[in-house]
Amino acid sequence: MVIILAGIALAGLILSKKPGHSEKNTKRDNLPAASDYQNSSDVDLPNSSGVIKEAKAMPVYGHWRNFTTKDGLPSDKAYTVRIDGDRVLVGTHDGLAVYENEKWHTYTTKDGLAHNGVVSVDVSELTGDVWIGTLGGLTRWSSGKFTTFNQFNSGLPNDLVYCVYCDGKDIWVATGGGAGHYDTQTGLWDIFTEQNAPMHEPWTYGVSAGGSKVYIAAWGGGVIEYDNKTKRFRDYTDPDGFMEIDLQPDDGVVHDITTATSYNDSILWVSTYFGMSRYDGKNWKGYFNTDSGLASNFINFLRAEGRVVFVCSDNGLSSTDGTTWVTYKKDDNSENGKAIITTGNEKKEIPLSPSISHNFIIGVDAKDDILWVATSKGVSRGELLK
């Protein structure tokens, strides 16, 4: 009713205007021509540009360098990437690739990995140990020695380890057969499934921690929260209860099939194959590609660094602070691409040459001014544009 009354009032206003004063649409196109910007790989963002306002609000990365098997990766299919001091750890379909001093070195089952398919890597801040989630078990890389945990020699819930996360002395894993917790000090395992946690099924795919809580992305079960203090669980699911719809925007996690969680700056970010959600401890906010700058609703993984979350979708890499979006996309037929900056209805593009190596993004990590991206066809390294 309010809308109708407002419309009638607006119509009245227009009618009261004198005829013959038709207004041309003078609104300028928000998308600048590519020539408005210099090649971002050659120079940094121009300070005089309006884009710099968005760049200040949100980091924008350029000067991309791409690495594939031609450069020494064991496989072009990269599942995960983690920055570990001066080196970078990349999980691929055919082994763990370590980038150090401008060179790649590959570790495989011959070196002691549980399986060559490395889908998740994390580094313990406490010990410096590297924990490697593979398609065939969990491996700890400590002091140059690989130790494997599997279903037969440990309490690992399942050998397919989709995600590993180090939280102090605790190692958390999300597997195809439940979530697992390993206490590195006691050597004891806990297994969490639908039998002892509020999961619909025992299938978990992501895990992260923060604010003394652990957040498990459970397939069909939304987000399972574990409170380290109370040792209790609670779950967050899509309130409408139907797979085929999202009934109300911002009413909860956008879908029950969750793929990853990441907690930082008091915000929990949750990815799904249907969109993304943000939870500040009180309110949920949902994001779709139809109402935000999100590259695609199909999200493989996400990682929050400070107030910014990096979102790995099947059709581009997005980053956002919840308001401004920066999405990186490679052109179909060249090595070039662009960064698309979106704030509300405003959209601006920065040409990038080269761009990220592929638009199917599977993993991401950021540290200081560097961003690493794992894709379906190689890994990419970007630098913060200043």
């Binding site: 399986h115 398609l135 989709y162 195809g176 085929e244 109300q248 779709f288 199917f360």
Partner: protein, 440 residues
Amino acid sequence: MKPRVLLLLILILISVLPFSLLNGQEKTKNYGNIPDELVAYDKYMKAYKYHFLEPIQFYGSGREKLPPADLKEIRIGFLGPLEGSVILPLGKQMLQGTMLAIEEANKKGGYKGIPYKLMIHNDVGLWGAAANEVVKMDDEKVWAFLGTIDDNNSHIALRATLKLEILNINTGDPDPTFTETNIPWGIRVIPDDRQSGYVLVDRVFKQDKHSRVAVIRANNRYGRVGILHFNRSATRVGYPIIIEERFSDGETDFKEQLERIKKTLPDAIVLWGNAKESALILKQIRDLGMKQPVYGSDRMVNPEFLEIAGPLAEGVVTTCQYNPDANDPKLKAFKVNYLKRFGQEPDVFAAHAYDGTNMLIEAIEKVGLNRVLIRDVLTDMKTFQGYQGVTGKVIFDATWNNIRPIFITEVTNGKFKFSPAPPLEKSEQIYKRPKSGDSY
């Protein structure tokens, strides 16, 4: 622009503005053959976003990969319950259906003279075994895989397909949520329990005019998810289920559950479980003197049900994903060849496995040995849309779920008699509420 024209435009804008305020997407059609009156929340409000209206694309790389030059066999994966499972007979039939299709293809020369080889994997084992078996199939370098039946194992396997990029052609799991995951590496050729639920709602409430319906279902994912859309739909048409009891696989004494059901004075009972337990429940229903008509799920369409239930099976109504008695030369030839090869009649799992395997073989022949291209051609909604198998047509919805019309069966003279299931149409009858004070 003249003011009157402008005014007209504004009035048009006013009329559509409330709908355009939905920033998600507008509903264009019902996903999954959902009858209009059963669309979730549709009587009360439009959803902010409707999923599954368009097929999801796979944007990953891999289409440029060439197959190895020295292949000696074309490996096809199979995942099914083959050891240590209560549904082992169903898994055996599914495997045999797949084997028959592979053997027939090899008799025709395989793929460019190279024979197909089935890499067989059991999906029962330690927690999440199905996922580990898919990893093994990746190590074996299969081009795609078929299976499985159990809901849990299907989901576990499906998630692994995305990491490993192997297409899963599901031929036996009717769990509606299997294709509702948005993973672009799974398709299903057997119609799902959504369709069964809608058909039973039509039959039970609209045609047979029952209003107090009791449910007894298997206490596993098959029972829980399978009955879900029947229960929800019953509520939406005005007749919520009055009681839902559960039983475990292998259970033989259902007296406790049935006595609770009896006290609720139902006018019909719906069973959702495997053939053996369903037959035993039917017998015990009658032993308790309960004469209510009995309806059930597709798993009851099995010789074991008729054998155990005997004459008591007469009149039982169930759904079935296809008509095994159809007058189709292709189906008849399949049944003859299957009987000759394995010494038993094919069941629904064998028939759908045969179709799914033949689709995969045809896909490989069309696009060659490349996992992504095999996925692409089977999901392009053109090449295999309307594929005519021995079980009927394959009609994919946007999730690659086969939504072709299913069949309803009624046990008559000791045999299952099949007939096409009519679509559920809106009817005043099913919305008619009892008058105040009426009791059942």
